[in-house]
């Protein structure tokens, strides 16, 4: 039942990192459309960045996700406008099922960030230099731990702490464990009905 669902607080994420470089990485790249012919999200993990990872004969190509030392990474470090394009939640679902728990990047496309939030995955933003330095560090230290503090808006790695930015609503939702909004909004059903009935085009929950 909805009210019994426990929504965990996501105030921090720790783990090793993987850098996926490039601006404007769209959701068609993150998960090609042909893998969306499914009615559940189960098993999408193996298709993350599929066409970047494999050639026509299914041979592995050079891609950070193909490198064994990055296989267990949980923090993905990206550049600008990551996740642009289609609204498919299949994209963050695939990356989550691959094992990613948080993203750090220069900027994120709006819907992608919203989809990540709905899954409890923080999308933290940082300046270009901060991101590039972090990407270099992650590449040089595949075993290095990153501590992402959502509440404090910092990332600690290699004995160094840098500032990142988290959208206010996202931070609150993650830290206070209210990022899964279904039950929260369901509880306001009466107010929803009132709002609806005050609209000139709704009557008794129907379009008029």
């Amino acid at each position: 039942m909805s009210n019994e669902l426990e929504i965990p607080s996501v105030d921090s994420v720790s783990g090793t990192g993987v850098a996926v470089r490039g601006n404007d990485i769209d959701t068609d790249q993150i998960i090609p459309a042909r893998f969306m012919k499914v009615v559940t999200f189960d098993g999408l993990g193996e298709f993350a960045f599929f066409d970047q990872r494999f050639d026509d004969d299914d041979n592995e190509k050079d891609h950070p996700l193909n490198e064994p030392e990055h296989r267990d990474a949980s923090v993905m470090v990206v550049n600008a406008n990551f996740g642009c394009g289609s609204s498919r939640e299949h994209a963050p679902q695939a990356l989550m099922r691959w094992g990613i728990d948080a993203f750090i990047g220069e900027s994120f496309a709006e819907i992608f960030a919203g989809n990540c939030l709905a899954l409890g995955m923080p999308t933290l933003e940082a300046d270009t230099e901060v991101v590039e330095e972090l990407q270099e560090w992650v590449e040089a230290n595949p075993d290095g731990e990153l501590d992402v503090d959502v509440a404090d808006e910092t990332v600690t790695y290699g004995g160094k702490t840098v500032d990142v930015r988290v959208d206010d609503a996202q931070r609150k939702a993650l830290v206070e464990g209210v990022w899964d909004t279904t039950a929260l909004m369901k509880a306001n059903a009466e107010a929803v009905d009132e709002t609806a009935e005050a609209l000139p085009y709704v009557e008794d929950g129907k379009r008029v």
Binding site: Q29, K37, C84, S87, E110, M185
Partner: protein, 473 residues
């Protein structure tokens, strides 16, 4: 912060309450669903033992996976068949109205909403598809959402959202011969960037926008998302009302006049405050085509393709890779770029006026023998209306393949796909690598008449050099 804009007014009327996160809980007046992004949401509802809260404000169609060659069931593609069957089951259980292919009302979700009068000014509309921004052409707040949000909307009739800033984009002047709405939006995205709209909603205004028909406005709002803005809109006006009057599901007579008062009341005030204003001279524009692999990598048809080094530093690497993929040289123009495939379709440009204008250019001409050319109407109703006017004959006589309604080769989730490194002149909205079904495929975005001009000549062509070019009718 913006004040007195359509965005502010419609938002305020639909805001239920402020959530603990600081987001607003927004009532959804119309929830459009389709087969790709909704089955998982219905699954989540079942897991949580929840029901659809407002089935009568929800409407379904099937568009991404439908074959455009035959409607016959079961579909040859078993995965497509499974998705269709799942949607049929979900809407039957929930009592949601479904523009099923058998009804003659099926089509791309952003074509059928307006067509059936579901899309009306002053409403909030969401759909698990980023091009939901299309419906903003009617003065709605229309947003693409993800599947977890679809679950929320199904369960509660509301969605949690943060209010965004409003940027007014004023397009002044009169569009020249051969220049269409598509060129306006490609130019906007090129100037402001693919991420320029992040955090903003775009209000499109100015003479060049106001003089467009509803279909043109839809093309512009459709690609707001390509500019990073989650939504875009045009204030409703007499053009909007005339388009709506008499459509199914739109109130009639006295009720229509009353509803119009509401529509007028939500227009942006003359003294509204915007977070940003951008002005573009529409009279300066020429047909725009893309040379790269993002919709922002566009260029006027007579302009040289840029030298990556001359672009802003964060664009250099992407541009270099894009030019390599597309096989284009800086300094040259896109005119003469050879194409293998021409696709006239998608939620950006597959409405009746798009097909009409394209057909006039095609009449009496023949598709280049080396080009595979197809027309995919946006909906069954568009297809039928076009056939009543004989447009299908004009296209097929010229050598175009006239197909059934759906998303088709825009993203290639059905059998319509590019093969190998084929280059495609496309009226769709995205030129991302792999977008049209082949990861080596090359997509050149352009307006619909530029697409058919390219089909006829076998290469990207300046449509203004061809006869029978008249616009702004």
């Amino acid at each position: 912060m913006s004040e007195g804009t359509l965005y502010d007014k419609v938002w305020d009327r639909h805001a239920v309450t402020r959530l603990p996160t600081g987001q607003d809980q927004l009532f959804v007046g119309l929830h459009l669903i389709h087969e790709v992004t909704s089955p998982q949401a219905f699954g989540m509802l079942r897991e949580r033992d929840l029901e659809v809260a407002y089935p009568d404000l929800t409407h379904a169609t099937v568009d991404h996976i439908v074959p455009t060659s035959s409607k016959e069931r079961p579909y040859a593609d078993t995965a497509a068949e499974e998705m269709m069957a799942e949607l049929e089951e979900n809407v039957r259980e929930s009592g949601i109205e479904f523009s099923h292919p058998d009804t003659g009302e099926q089509g791309i979700v952003h074509v059928i909403g307006p067509e059936q009068g579901l899309t009306q000014p002053g409403t909030t509309i969401v759909c698990g598809d980023s091009h939901t921004s299309t419906h903003g052409a009617f003065g709605t707040l229309a947003f693409g959402i993800g599947t977890s949000q679809i679950r929320d909307v199904l369960a509660t009739g509301t969605v949690a959202m943060e209010k965004q800033k409003v940027r007014k984009i004023e397009v002044t002047g009169e569009l020249g011969d051969g220049v269409e709405a598509k060129d306006v939006i490609l130019e906007i995205i090129r100037r402001l960037g693919t991420e320029g709209g992040v955090g903003y909603v775009y209000e499109y205004a100015g003479e060049a926008i106001e003089s467009l028909d509803m279909e043109g406005r839809m093309s512009i709002c459709n690609m707001s998302i390509e500019g990073g803005a989650r939504a875009g809109y045009v204030n409703p006006d007499e053009t909007t009302y005339a388009w709506l009057e008499g459509r199914e599901r739109v109130p009639e007579g006295e009720a229509f006049e009353q509803r119009k008062e509401y529509w007028e009341s939500i227009r942006s005030d003359d003294d509204a405050t915007y977070d940003d204003v951008v002005t573009i001279d529409g009279g300066d524009l020429e047909p725009v085509v893309t040379w790269g692999t993002t919709p922002g990598q566009g260029v006027g048809i007579t302009e040289p393709i840029p030298e990556p080094e001359n672009l802003p530093v964060d664009k250099v690497e992407t541009a270099r890779r894009a030019q390599e993929h597309m096989g284009v040289e800086p300094g040259e123009t896109m005119e003469g770029y050879p194409i293998d495939v021409a696709f006239l379709g998608s939620c950006t440009n597959a409405r009746l006026p798009d097909l009409r204008r394209a057909a006039r250019l095609v009449k009496g001409r023949t598709v280049d023998p080396n080009v595979r050319a197809m027309v995919v109407p946006g909906s069954q109703q568009v297809k039928q209306a076009a056939e009543e006017e004989g447009l299908d004959e004009i296209f097929t006589e010229a050598g175009f393949d006239w197909r059934g309604a759906g998303c088709s080769m825009c993203l290639g989730m059905n059998e319509d796909q590019l093969e190998g490194d084929e280059a495609c002149a496309s009226s769709s909205n995205r030129n991302f690598v792999g977008r049209q079904g082949s990861k080596d495929g090359r997509t050149v975005l352009m307006n619909p008449r530029m697409v058919v001009a390219a089909a006829i000549n076998g290469e990207v062509t300046d449509v203004r050099a061809m006869k029978e070019v008249t616009v702004n009718e």
